[in-house]
């Protein structure tokens, strides 16, 4: 079993991460300008592996950008998927119609953006674990800095694409309003392309029944390879909130931060290295330490506001007795 650690992305990670991201995704480090650096943290999950010469090295497996207060500098758009019923008893008519309404509904929210993992190197179970750890670590960091993050959290998931990389949703809707190639535009403008194209998209509700069947069927459908992300988010308590992305209709998962178990169960605790206090049933805990975003996983046991750790882990964790950390168990306690 791999133990994942989460830290901020650094310059030398970029070549690896670039291969995981969707075309056109922002591939640069967050700005370090004083006014910008707290808007975004790019987190990476890595695990330690022994190489051929038995030297330990860290191998990245998943990443996400933790953003706060999105859509204020650059407008963000989503379609709200609504429902209208057209009914007439006399005609035995009951039609449930879906509508798409363009809006900026999540403006000001917290976001996990560009959630991605190394699909080539990791098994599905490993991907699930890496993402799970990464998402929960991000929630722990939010809990640690709770007042800095707006209470609404969203995560956009990639929508359906055919084998040629075309989105059936775009083909049936967006294409009629912007004739250019969306992939080219995304590569040219980066994430801002969606802001640019939103200016061309319909502002009034669109009845999905006017769209081709394949387009309708693609609404809120996640790319099969991204199901593992969707499941990880579901486990953390995020849900599809009837919004989709404007280019491929990928579902947007949402939650109120303060309702999430990972946030409710996160606490500041004092570290105590004490072999005697560790029961055999000690569970895995996420531990956020230091000022920089760094979260590790270790077997631990919480008693009140004390987190007991095995003395053997002292060196690898770089902690000392009496250090204050933020912690949350890896798995929620059974309800």
């Amino acid at each position: 079993m791999k133990f994942w650690e989460v830290r901020a992305t650094r310059e030398h990670d970029l070549p690896v991460l670039a291969g995981w991201l969707a075309p056109g995704a922002d591939a640069g480090l967050p700005s370090t300008a004083p006014e910008a650096d707290d808007h975004e943290i790019w987190l990476i999950a890595e695990h330690r592996e022994l190489d051929g010469e038995h030297r330990e090295s860290a191998v990245p497996g998943a990443c996400l950008r933790l953003r706060r207060a999105i859509g204020l500098d650059r407008l963000r758009h989503w379609y709200h998927v609504g429902c209208v019923v057209h009914a007439a008893k006399e005609l035995d008519l009951f039609h449930r119609q879906h509508t798409l309404l363009l809006g900026n509904d999540y403006t000001g929210a917290t976001e996990f953006a560009d959630l991605a993992c190394d699909r080539a190197a990791l098994s599905l179970a490993e991907q699930a674990m890496a993402i799970r750890t990464l998402v929960r670590a991000a929630l722990l960091l939010i809990a640690r800095d709770r007042e800095r993050y707006p209470p609404e959290l969203i995560v956009e998931l990639p929508g359906l694409r055919d084998s040629a990389g075309q989105s059936p949703f775009w083909e049936g809707l967006g294409r009629h309003f912007y004739a250019g190639d969306p992939l080219q535009a995304a590569q040219r403008f980066g994430p801002a392309w969606r802001t640019h194209v939103a200016a061309l998209l319909p502002r009034q509700p669109v009845y999905t029944s006017f769209l081709p069947a394949a387009t309708q069927a693609a609404v809120a459908q996640v790319q099969p390879a991204a199901r593992v992300m969707m499941e990880a988010l579901s486990m953390e308590g995020l849900r599809y909130g009837h919004h989709v992305t404007i280019d491929e209709a990928g579902p947007v998962f949402e939650a109120r931060i303060d309702n999430l178990q990972a946030v409710l169960g996160a606490h500041r605790r004092i570290v105590a290295f004490d072999a005697d206090a560790m029961p055999t049933t000690a569970a895995n805990w996420l531990i956020a330490m230091g000022d920089m975003p760094r979260v590790v996983v270790a077997r631990a046991h919480a008693l009140g506001r004390t987190l007991h750790l095995a003395p053997a882990a002292r060196d690898s964790l770089g902690l000392a007795d009496g250090d204050a950390v933020w912690t949350v168990p890896m798995a929620d306690a059974p309800a």
Binding site: G180, F189, H196
Partner: protein, 365 residues
């Protein structure tokens, strides 16, 4: 054939109950797709009864009136060759629905894109306006002055009784549909909400308020680029059967580009009564009995009666203050010497009328 010989040949008048058999005959020969003249005796009977009530109603009309006019060919012993109506107030008891053509321009400077997008807005704009309805004429008369008289004569009636009508006027025109009931606009729009084909929907709407159906249609604007290409092409397109009445309305100054019909996408023409050509040109004249003029230009002549309304076409000198007609014509117009009438010049040349005595059956096909 000299068109002057057609002077006063056709007379437009208010319908009466005794027109029922002749109307039935006209209806059974009418084109598919036009539901306003049902080949159904009871429905026609109701229409006639409603019209009788409308013409007889007091001047403080309710707006519910539906006036039916018929056109007689005096050369055929007064045979009915056409009919047309006026609904005083569209959608009187409820709303009158149309789609209004609108365009939005959306721009993305960054993407270098600028789109003019055609949208259809479900609207009630035409609620309460006067509606011209049910124009039908024996196809044999299509090129003659008869359809002109049938259509424009109604405008004379409206202009003479403005308190009974709106100052705005509209007319629905049939959209594209084929003989077996395929209608590209309905198939692209209405069908998605009703699961029924166009003829079935037509039956449904003929029996009840159209507004009821309209409420089940999408209430937000329709983005035309999302419709199938065939439906896009059919927007505002006229069924060939409607070309003649539509061209007359356009000539009168109706606008045919703003509104379209909710069901078949045909153009709904609209205009201001006081701006219409016939209304603008109309002036007073006095009837004199004698030998008719032989020169001059074609004029529409209408008496000032309501239940005894009559209109015909005559050649008159351009600024003639009197309108000299022979006794049978005066009789047909319900006039006598000294009666004040309204006259309005008509443009254009019209084809020869069918020769009296020719059989019409062959031509109707």
């Amino acid at each position: 054939m000299n068109a002057v010989l057609d002077d006063a040949r056709y007379v437009l008048r208010a319908s009466r109950m005794s027109d029922l058999p002749a109307l039935e005959c006209l209806a059974s020969a009418s084109a598919i797709g036009i539901t306003s003249l049902p080949a159904d005796r009871d429905a026609l009977f109701d229409k006639l009864q409603r019209s009788d009530k409308a013409f007889a109603s007091d001047d403080d009309a309710s707006g519910e009136e539906h006036y039916l006019f018929v056109l007689e060919d005096r050369a055929r012993g007064g045979e009915l060759i056409g009919t047309a109506g006026i609904a005083a107030s569209a959608g009187f008891q409820d709303r009158f629905y149309s789609y209004r053509n609108e365009y939005v321009v959306q721009v993305s400077p960054e993407l270098g894109a600028r789109n003019r997008i055609h949208t259809l807005h479900l609207c009630h704009d035409l609620t309460g306006v006067t509606l011209l309805t049910g124009f039908h004429i024996d196809p044999m008369y299509a090129d003659t002055i008869a359809p002109q008289l049938l259509s424009r004569g109604r405008l004379m009636f409206i202009a003479q009784f403005p308190e009974r009508f709106s100052d705005r006027i509209a007319a629905e025109n049939p959209g594209l549909a084929d003989d077996i009931g395929n209608c590209p606009f309905w198939d692209a729009v209405g069908r998605r909400f009703f699961d029924m084909d166009y003829p079935a929907a037509g039956e449904l709407t003929s029996g009840r308020d159209k507004a009821y159906i309209a409420e089940l249609m999408p209430q937000s604007p329709i983005y035309v680029p999302l419709l199938p290409e065939e439906a896009q092409w059919s927007l505002g397109q006229l069924h060939p059967v409607g070309e003649l009445p539509f061209s007359i309305l356009l000539d009168e100054g109706f606008d045919g580009d703003t509104y379209i019909n909710l069901f078949d996408g045909g153009p709904t023409a609209d205009g201001r009564v006081l701006m219409l050509k016939t209304v603008v040109r109309a002036r007073d004249a006095v009837i004199a009995c004698g030998a008719p003029h032989t020169g001059g230009s074609l004029h529409l002549v209408a008496n000032a009666e309501r239940e005894q309304f009559r209109a015909t076409s005559l050649h008159l000198k351009t600024d003639a203050q009197t309108c000299t007609i022979d006794a049978p014509t005066a009789d047909a117009l319900q006039c006598e010497a000294g009666t004040r009438v309204r006259v309005a010049p008509m443009d254009g040349e019209y084809g020869a009328s069918p020769i009296v005595g020719a059989t019409s059956e062959g031509d109707r096909a």
